[in-house]
Symmetry: C2
Subunit: 723 residues, 2 copies
């Protein structure tokens, strides 16, 4: 079993390497193209290097803490997770900055949409395969080294153990949690840092360029334009990849942990309902499931790359993803049938029938598709909502903003209803384990999703390079078409990201409750998070505010950096008159430096807040408060993430709709209003929303690791002991 | 006891009448002033009449339903509540439209700030006293007629009873819930309808007037200006009054209901911990508490009106409120001591010591003050946050909006932390009853708060009339000073409204759980809302989206009406060139009609949604789902209400700061940007935020009434019975 997963991981990384070098050896076009691409690459490299430097220090501190307070295995697994996630982000950024100019050049040389698409997708697939490959490889190592070699999966060790500090937990759950936390930390920094970088550059470029100087996007006269393109690579590629890797790992480990807690059902007081053999099976099951998904996606990727590509990029990409998804569903279905066919067990919230975890995964998958489609209904200009935002722009900026807010707020209801129903359904077929499997179902073909998601910014960058290198308009047309498709798929991808994050958070949360339940007192063992308990309710209130606080800090961080960018761009336009006439090359480097410095400075506080909030609360108010807090944070995060994603998407597309000539088209008052709306939406949809997905998982994992410690050691219980 | 409360209510209404006629007999100034004031009055009268017509039909349906499905007493109490709340709103609107021109005239005649202040405050006090008087009067009637005359408070009837449909409940809890629901329905319609009216007019007037035609606020050339002034009366006066009346009643009845549920503690299985006598005491206690508050506020009002008023309106108003608050605290403290001094009981989440409910009330009061001050820190331009919004306006509209959002989002953390700590503290001293008392503590001097809150729009209207009647600038200066103070106190008042709504919702929610707990099976009687239960969790998710859905609908409603207004104003400016030169009087009536029609059309859906959401969910998914939903809705509502209030306030004051000459002052680019921000914030802070306070209470009360019905009759339990 594990060998198969290892093979799948290595195969994915192998294909990634093949595609990487295939892209790299392609032609890079004119000297000007090379120069511009070089500047983007340099900026991205420099930023990621600085960023990883900052992360390394913080990660080292956390690793040592985990090693001392929990187990050394947890600390090591944490570092492994950070390395895996970090590598995926690094490679993604690398390939994106290599592929962009080659996509542009392919369009220039061949003029073929299909051929150009293939280059961009091949580049994207490197990231997709790296995400799947590294995530699984790390899990295989954790499973093999700590689980098998060091025996944490032995029947005897799959029980509550006490460490040297007297803290009790199941060792393997801590080790895999450490691994997940490693991935989460990287994801948080990559997302937040990259998000601030890219949106500061984007907003700065747009605010002065489009709104004041009235020059088009990616115009080489705009000093912030290279920074903007760098941002696409560090934010939309590295950030997104690390984010989805983290969701993927989070979903897998939460089902492993839940399975390991099934040993509780063997306590004498309850009467051995689930055998050790079944528990072992359910702990490897999610890994194999994911392995099948990775292999299926490899087929889907090769399927696109090997065929003669047609001229409808939307269809091509969809077909590739559909092949991946379908093969995943069939493959995992067959596997599940043979693996669990004799099972029919139910105890303590767990329920395992022949196909039940697979059905739960399919439910998750379907709900993800449904949520994605709903996102499209609200954000695409083919539908009423976004057209209304465009229409409102005629009455000015304020009504564009107001209408976009309204669309975003209204858009949260149905997707979350789908999520709620999916949770009920998954739970009905396979208990709590089913909820975790639903998250895995959504993410099982993550390789395909990330490949498409990365393809988008690569195409976007290629467009920028074509513009700045003054290539023929035909080239830009090709890259624009590719980019437009990327935008739609990105919106759908966000639905998956949010949905899976919510489900993963719910199952991590269930694990938290298992960890909180005192196993010594098994007579009354019951999972309960009672919201009528005042501490829990207070925790819920406090937790509900955190996503808002976190978002406010992020938005302000982007705004601060963007304002500096605006001032710099204005300064250059004023002091160097030759820039706007195209005679003098603007100073790109200073703008890159502003985004970079802003991102590095501002990313620390929100990232650290997400880790420390549950710890501080736990040591003051105890485990019940933290339980309430996790619920509160999850609820508002999910709602806020959908709101920001859909409002932002709607503003963006309303602008694009007007640019197609409606309501006066480009240059009209309505267009100006819609540009402001788009700018307001940018940090919401690309910085805040995605970071919220990570926030809930990071808080859940941190709480899960720390609950054995603060459970009995907190201020409130200390005060009560004094009274 | 009850006699004392009745006296307090009647005294308050008496003083209201005295002040009403005192204001009415004052002079109304020049013919032009009379004409303009007449137009405002007419518009407000017509709207309220239409609005009440719509409400009457819906209320009749609800009353019949309640009468048939629950008890006829509940239906009658519902109508009584609607009448009381409706009367308060009506009188408030009346006095506001009478006082506005008289304030303006007093300023014109005397030139004295102090004298003018008194007129405005006297007008405001009519509304404050009506709110307190009508709320209490209705409660006294309910208590006397249904409780005493019809015996619902007899020991024998203070127990679970079955009605003709086989639904079980405690009769008196249903009767008072019906009363509260009556108040809530009116509040919801007044708030939503008035909010849409006022903000549509306000946005429409500003968008074309300030931003496009560059004419000042309240300029008679603006066709929407009379509609804007009408809006202040129907939204900020009638809407706000009904809103706070509803909070006040909600807080009082939730403590009465909780007290009545104490009879559970006398069940044999638990062992008679609390005597019937104590329960009776705790059921009248909140009424007496409120009565003392009303009398104290009367002293505070007379204190201001009888003295020679100084020239610092802020100080005058604060002193009056402080007198009211202090007398309330002292009076209730003394009363509590004599009333409960021998008590020392604790059972089942209840805890009653000598002064404990009073301490909980003081905790609530202090936390309300604290929350109000925090609101000021975020929204006043004397502090950093709002100045930063103003500063960001220099870089354009997008950054003004973004920064305001960031301030709003960051502003939710500390107030809610205060709320959370207050909940823990109130619960620690007096159990669940203490949480309800904390809400009462916040609202105990509501008469004083509403007086000041109503004074604001009256002064605002007076300013408008002065401007439109072309009075000397000195008059406008006086009314502006009065208005400015009103804005600050309004921000603080919102903190109280949100805080008390949250606490009242929490205690209503506890009542819901008592009602849900099956009293037949008293052996395992435990209050539990277990969030690990999938249905509860799914309910939490669904509930968390409702405030966003509701807000989105409201914002869109305002935007729709505002867009029509913008089109009309633009049309008038284009078609009748004489308007802008001041030669032709614009067509005010059409604008009033647009706001009115928009409000009447758009208010129905959100109001009905708030009532039906818990019902539909209950009959499909059952009581556990609804319990989760109430939690989810409460959490996101509180957060969203604070966000909207503070973001809106900050945008508003950032604009005012710039208007004082900073960053280029009026007419600068920064000022234009800040006007857009203010316009975006308007519907958020004045329509959405306050309506959310009502949403959570209405949903809690509806659930409380309906839970005995859908508890066993729902789709899920029906499906389970089939399996």
């Amino acid at each position: 079993m594990l060998g198969f997963v290892a093979l799948a991981a290595i195969a994915a990384l192998g294909l990634a390497a093949v595609n990487f070098f295939a892209v790299k050896k392609m032609g890079t076009g004119t000297p000007l193209m090379e120069e511009i691409a070089g500047a983007i690459k340099e900026g991205a490299d420099a930023f990621i290097k600085h960023e990883y430097g900052v992360i390394a220090k913080i990660a080292a501190v956390i690793a040592v803490l985990l090693g001392v307070v929990v187990t050394w295995q947890t600390g090591v697994a944490f570092i492994l997770g950070a390395l895996m996630s970090g590598s995926a982000g690094w490679i993604g950024m690398k390939i994106a900055t290599i592929a962009n100019v080659r996509v542009s050049n392919k369009a220039r040389e061949t003029g073929s949409l299909g051929e150009t698409l293939k280059v961009a997708y091949r580049g994207g697939s490197v990231m997709g395969l790296s995400v799947g490959g590294f995530a699984l490889l790390g899990l295989v190592i954790v499973y093999f080294v700590f689980g098998l070699l060091l025996g944490e999966l032995d029947q005897a060790k799959l029980a509550i153990t006490e460490n040297w500090m007297g803290i009790t937990f199941i060792p393997f759950t801590m080790t895999v949690s450490g691994y997940a936390l490693g991935c989460s930390i990287i994801a948080m920094f990559d997302r937040v840092g990259g998000g601030i970088f890219t949106k500061a550059a984007d907003m700065g470029a747009d605010l002065v360029g489009k709104t004041e100087a009235h020059i088009p996007e990616d115009d080489p006269r705009n000093p912030a334009t290279i920074a903007d393109n760098v941002g696409d690579n560090v934010g939309d590629v590295a950030g997104l990849g690390a984010d989805l890797l983290e969701s993927y790992v989070g979903a897998i480990i939460s089902s492993i942990i839940l399975a390991s807690y099934m040993f509780f059902t063997n306590l004498d007081s309850i009467g051995g309902a689930i055998s050790y053999e079944l528990i072992s099976k359910l702990m490897i099951y999610p890994l194999v499931f994911a392995g099948i998904g990775v292999l299926s996606c490899m087929v889907g990727i090769v399927f696109l790359l090997a065929r003669k590509a047609g001229d409808d990029p939307h269809k091509e990409l969809n077909r590739s993803t559909q092949v991946s998804a379908l093969l995943t569903i069939i493959g995992t279905g067959v596997f599940t049938w043979f693996f669990l066919k004799d099972q029919n067990t139910a105890a303590m919230g767990f329920k395992i029938g022949a196909l039940s975890p697979w059905i739960a995964a399919v439910v998750g998958n379907l709900s993800g598709i449904f949520i994605g489609q709903l996102a499209e209904r609200y954000t695409s200009y083919d539908f009423k909502s976004t057209r209304k935002v465009a229409e409102a722009s005629r009455e000015g900026t304020a009504l564009n903003i107001t209408q976009g807010m309204a669309v975003g707020m209204k858009s949260v209801f149905f997707p979350i209803l789908v999520m709620a129903v999916a949770t009920i359904a998954a739970n009905a077929v396979a208990g709590i384990y089913g909820v975790a499997m639903a998250a895995i179902g959504m993410l099982s073909y993550v390789v395909a999703t990330v490949s498409v998601d990365t393809y988008g910014p690569i195409a976007d960058n290629a467009g920028g390079i074509s513009e700045m290198s003054k290539l023929e308009p035909g080239v830009r047309q090709i890259t624009d078409k590719l980019d437009a498709v990327g935008n739609t798929t990105a919106a759908i991808g966000k639905g998956f990201a949010i949905g899976s994050a919510a489900l993963a958070a719910l199952s991590l949360f269930s694990s938290f409750l298992y960890a909180q339940a005192t196993p010594a007192d098994t007579s009354g063992f019951i999972l309960n998070i009672n919201f009528i308990d005042t501490l829990t309710m207070a925790g819920g209130l406090a937790g509900a505010t955190l996503p808002f606080l976190f978002s406010g800090i992020l938005i302000e961080a982007v705004a601060n950096a963007a304002r500096k960018m605006v001032q710099e761009v204005r300064r250059q336009f004023q002091e160097i008159p030759g820039i706007l006439t195209g005679e003098v090359r603007p100073d790109y480097t200073t703008c890159i430096r502003i985004s970079s410095a802003g991102a590095l400075k501002e990313m620390k506080f929100p990232a650290i807040l997400s880790v420390t909030a549950p710890l501080i609360s736990g040591f003051i108010f105890g485990a019940n408060f933290v339980a309430g807090m996790l619920i509160g944070t999850t609820l508002t995060s999910v709602v806020l993430a959908l709101y920001t994603a859909n409002a932002g998407g709607s503003w963006d597309n309303a602008k694009k709709y007007i640019e197609q000539g409606y309501y006066g088209g480009k240059g009209s008052e309505a267009h100006s209003a819609s540009v402001v709306g788009d700018t307001v939406g940018d940090p919401l949809k690309d910085t805040v929303g995605p970071s919220l997905d990570i926030l809930i998982k990071i808080m859940a994992v941190v709480s899960l690791i720390a609950v054995p410690i603060f459970q009995d050691n907190n201020l409130i219980s200390w005060i009560q002991s004094l009274l």
